[in-house]
């Protein structure tokens, strides 16, 4: 069961997403209307903590549990970062969810979000279909 640890990590992540209320459609509207600091605080402090954690791993030369050297995958720039980013932003504000919170909204009992998830999978599939015709 080498995947059990990822299931448990996901459960912890899901618990935090809900307790932080970042899966709340209301919180997303509040963020984009600049009427609360909550979401900015969550995302900002998450970035700073993650950055410190990665620095510590590098400085100490820690390896992963299976003994591998930890690699940081480079994300090369392409125009999709801009166009895709704008498109995702539009969808984020409609659904009140990025992909992680979609799963958490379903787990929180809003089962109709399964429709949103299927549509998101369809969107990903259509991207794969038309990828070569889009600017990158």
């Amino acid at each position: 069961m080498k995947n059990a640890k990822f299931l448990i990590a996901g459960m912890l992540f899901g618990i935090i997403l809900v307790k932080a209320e970042v899966i709340s459609w209301f919180r997303i509207q509040e963020m984009f209307r600049l009427e609360s600091f909550h979401m900015y605080g969550v995302i900002g402090s998450a970035i700073v903590t993650a950055m410190l954690g990665v620095m510590l791993i590098k400085k100490m030369g820690w390896r992963s549990m299976n003994g591998e050297e930890i690699v940081i995958r480079k994300k090369p720039f392409h125009l999709g970062n801009i166009f895709g980013g704008l498109i995702f932003g539009l969808g984020w504000a409609i659904t009140g969810a990025c992909p992680g919170p979609l799963f958490a909204q379903i787990g929180s009992g809003f089962t109709v979000v399964i429709v949103t998830l299927f549509s998101a999978i369809a969107g990903t599939w259509v991207y794969g279909l038309v990828k070569d015709r889009l600017p990158h």
Binding site: F6, G53, S119
Partner: protein
């Protein structure tokens, strides 16, 4: 127990979310990122003859276990760690949303939008079908979402992730302030 049942403030929840980046590195040499799970589901279920979905998705299946965990974790909160109180929103947000037709503020999501009765209506077409499609298409085109770009990407000092994040925010501001309000008044009022 009282703390566990109340919503967590940003300065507790944010750092805990951030810790998932080094945690995934240490337990499996993995990069935090969730939108890839949607691609793996396509590759597993309906690859067609599309080259983008022709790869060994089983090698990436940790990601599917992770999102399965997210769903279960949320269910655990619903069952055991829930105080049942409404989200403590800025009254200005509540007033603005009320004016646009939202009436139920007692759960994490507005119950008058997010229920099955809306699944096959104009409301569902906007909030579930169109919204979901933009999320799935946009994150894949952008090469990641809030976890992969905004948290993992910026924390590992990758400038394309910063660009993507600024564009996520721009799209969100435009939708919440300009496009969504008239659509909501039309559909919900």
């Amino acid at each position: 127990m009282n703390f566990l049942k109340s919503p967590w403030p940003w300065y507790i929840a944010g750092p805990l979310i951030g810790l998932s980046v080094p945690l995934l590195m240490l337990i499996g040499n993995k990069a935090l990122g969730i939108s890839s799970s949607l691609r793996h589901i396509c590759a597993a279920c309906l690859p067609g003859k599309i080259p983008f979905f022709q790869y060994d998705w089983k090698k990436e299946s940790w990601n599917l276990w992770f999102v399965g965990g997210i769903t279960l974790g949320a269910l655990l909160v619903l069952l055991f760690l829930n105080n049942g109180e409404p989200v403590d929103l800025n009254p200005a947000t509540i007033a603005a949303l009320r004016k646009n037709g939202v009436q139920e503020f007692d759960e994490l999501l507005p119950g008058d939008i997010f229920h099955w009765g809306n699944a096959f209506s104009g409301t569902g077409l906007l909030f579930f079908v169109a919204g979901g499609f933009l999320v799935g298409f946009g994150t894949r085109y952008a090469g990641g979402c809030t976890s992969g770009h905004s948290i993992y990407g910026i924390a590992t000092l990758q400038w394309p992730s910063l660009v993507a994040t600024l564009c996520f925010m721009t799209g969100g501001f435009a939708m919440s302030n300009l496009i969504l309000p008239p659509l909501m008044r039309w559909l919900l009022l």
